[in-house]
């Protein structure tokens, strides 16, 4: 906590260059990022960037955001050490950052509250968003209800079916949910449709982007609003263990929870950063979402980054048992962290993730999101690799309530 009792300072929010990991004026992280969008959207992106630039150094904005994070989202979230789970990781110490305990059940609320406040400053009354697992949609609908904004959520038809509970939650919160029936009917197509809405209604509407992908300034803004995860965790780890962790594990779809917990540690060279993508049915099956581990550099959804694409640049449909990781692109900052070697990315199969999902439930009484279970499976492997002296911090990015339908089917419950 900062000295005035708040949990957030301007430096916490933006890092203010302290980590040498901010994009240039064109939103470039090295060769990654930038803007590849219809010209019609450039003024809106410029406006969002300008309003954010002002807000992030404005004490009033920081106070409002801080207030919502504490009194509404339930921050700071606690750390929980999980020794019974860790027995399966060769005895390494495993500590969870409990984003699953936030209001709405996942880290997505952090970004959403920040951007909903920005929407007010933009003078706009309508927000649209894409959603995969439904967590970003639920969080956006929640913030829209709280701040009195009209809300439309685009969600792939396939995702609507596998996350029916979240569709109901969004509707209950007053949002309109539009099922997207073109393309692969998942997150990437929901993003296409949200962009089409935005370019049509940009005068009244803010596109409340849910991950650190997309055109500049979204990768920077979403990261900054998610940074609080790592900022808190760093202080809490020092309090709890007296030292920094040896490694951090987080799941990566678009990459917002991972960048959220990584970012405050980028300058700490002793801390290994490990991202876990969805390997689905395995690399050889072709049914996976291994964007960083098996993709190639291209442009998708307005940003240069790693993409799952064929040799002619057509996007290849991804697969994962978890809707939130089922995305053929990834945030440009992760692309940069990968190429610079500062972070390492791996794949975790559906089966390995589901085993970790079940293991955490049985050993610790915590039912994680299937997305987060990829990070848990990664931590089990990492623990065996690093040995019993190691301490591993895992971002438990969300809770598993929404995944009960999938779990019932998978485990025959």
């Amino acid at each position: 906590m900062a000295n005035d009792g708040t949990i957030l300072t301007a430096a916490d929010l933006a890092g203010n260059g302290a980590y040498g990991n901010d994009p240039d004026v064109h939103g470039k992280f090295g060769i990654f990022g930038g803007r590849y969008v219809p010209e019609a959207l450039i003024p809106a992106l410029d406006e969002v960037a300008a309003v954010y630039e002002k807000a992030k150094n404005d004490a009033e904005f920081l106070r409002e955001f801080d207030h919502l994070l504490r009194t509404y989202a339930g921050r700071p979230t606690t750390l929980t050490e999980v020794p019974r789970f860790a027995e399966h990781a060769g005895g390494a110490r495993i500590i969870l950052k409990r984003e699953d305990l936030t209001h709405t059940g996942a880290h997505k609320i952090n970004n959403v509250l920040g951007q909903a406040l920005l929407t007010k400053r933009l003078g706009k009354k309508r927000v649209i968003a894409e959603t995969g697992a439904g967590q970003h949609g639920v969080a956006t609908a929640t913030a829209a209800a709280l701040l009195g904004l009209e809300c439309v959520i685009y969600m792939g038809q396939v995702d609507c079916e596998r996350q029916a509970l979240n569709v109901a939650r969004m509707k209950l919160l007053g949002a309109t949910v539009v099922p997207v029936t073109n393309g692969s009917q998942t997150l990437k197509d929901a993003i296409n449709e949200a962009f089409r809405d935005w370019v049509t209604n940009v005068d009244t509407t803010h596109y409340l982007f849910g991950t650190i992908a997309g055109p500049h300034p979204f990768p920077e803004i979403v990261r900054d609003f998610a940074r609080i995860i790592g900022v808190e965790a760093r202080r809490q780890m020092l309090e709890l263990t007296g030292r920094l962790p040896d490694a951090i594990a987080a799941c990566v779809g678009g990459g917002s929870n991972a960048i959220g917990i990584f970012h405050a540690f980028i300058g700490d060279e002793s801390v290994q950063l490990h991202g876990y993508e969805a390997a689905g049915h395995g690399l050889e099956s072709g049914e996976h979402a291994l964007t960083l581990t098996a993709g190639s550099v291209g442009v998708l959804h307005g940003s240069r980054t790693y993409v799952l694409q064929d040799e002619e640049g057509q996007t290849i449909e991804s697969h994962s048992i978890s809707a939130g990781l089922d995305y053929p692109g990834v945030g440009p900052e992760h692309a940069w962290l990968k190429d610079s070697g500062r972070a390492v990315y791996h794949g975790v199969t559906d089966d390995a993730a589901m085993a970790a999902f079940s293991l955490l439930a049985r050993t610790e009484g915590i039912i994680p999101a299937i997305e987060s279970s990829h990070a848990l499976a990664g931590a089990l492997e990492l623990g065996r690799e690093l040995g019993p002296e190691a301490t591993i911090l895992v971002n438990l990015s969300g809770r598993g309530d929404k995944d009960m339908g999938t779990a019932m089917k998978y485990f025959n419950l």
């Binding site: 219809p38 010209e39 990437k188 370019v199 002619e312 996007t315």
Partner: protein, 266 residues
């Protein structure tokens, strides 16, 4: 090969606007795209844009999405797009490729520019390539001797219009409205203002696209623009036709109506 410069000089000499037709490669079939484009040329289209089908067409409305999806399902590849360009250019029309950036990026900018020029293409329209990211493509295009067309929009500031037109050769594409492709009841009034604002920054021809679907609208737009771009209205007719021949006939009728429109400036 007819260049864009020739097309617009001719249209100007005839005191009319040029007519630009858009069709995606591989739709309704690989061969059918060439014959459909030829029907448009015969009916009076001066320029043909061949769309390169892409899996994530985020600035296209339902009509073009549908056609592009069918084309991809038909297995259309870049080699097919280039063959389509070759076939259409053989009709004598100036032939461009309209494409999202990633397929060119992946294929290789220099290679694509060279292969397109080799197929008789005269340039590209790249709706999601911003001036900031356009340098490699402009260099490759200049080396291959093809034009680069970029878009301005009603929301564009003066500074943005200047930045965009400075990257354009051939002509400037003015998007008539804030939205995706697709025919509309009326052509947005913002279009005329945008053309005026664009002319303040360039001597290049300015063509208007998005939402033009009838001869009357074509005449209206021809009143203030150097070219009228029509896409979804043709594709809609082809989607609704019982077979390829009927589709060709139907778009021929519409194209003649449009061609009359651009000659009767409202």
């Amino acid at each position: 090969m007819t260049t864009l410069q020739t097309v617009f000089a001719t249209a100007k000499a005839e005191n009319r606007a040029a007519l630009v037709g858009y069709l995606p490669a591989g739709f309704p079939s690989k061969e059918g795209a060439v014959t459909a484009a030829a029907a448009l040329v015969e009916a009076g289209c001066d320029v043909i844009e061949i769309g390169l089908p892409y899996s994530d067409p985020l600035m296209d409305g339902p009509t073009i999405q549908d056609a592009v999806h069918r084309s991809l399902v038909n297995g259309t590849r870049i080699a097919d797009v280039l063959r389509t360009v070759e076939g259409v250019a053989a009709t004598g029309a100036a032939t461009l490729v309209m494409t999202y950036w990633n397929p060119i990026d992946r294929y290789g900018a220099e290679r694509f520019a060279r292969d397109l020029a080799g197929a008789g293409g005269v340039g590209t329209i790249t709706p999601d390539l911003t001036p900031e990211e356009s340098e490699p493509w402009r260099a490759a295009s200049a080396a291959a001797g093809i034009d680069t067309v970029f878009l301005v929009a009603p929301s564009s500031t003066e500074a943005r219009i200047k930045a965009v037109v400075d990257c354009c050769t051939g002509f400037v594409y003015a998007a008539s409205l804030m939205g995706v492709t697709g025919a509309r009841e009326t052509v947005n009034v913002a279009a005329e203002d945008l053309v005026k604002r664009t002319r303040a920054h360039t001597a290049l021809p300015v063509c208007v696209g998005l939402g033009v679907g009838t001869g009357k609208q074509a005449a209206e737009v021809a009143g203030y623009a150097d070219g009228v771009i029509v896409g979804s209205a043709f594709i809609r007719r082809m989607l609704d036709a019982p077979d390829e021949a009927a589709g060709r006939e139907s778009i021929g009728v519409l194209a003649r109506e449009m061609a009359a429109g651009v000659r009767s400036r409202a």
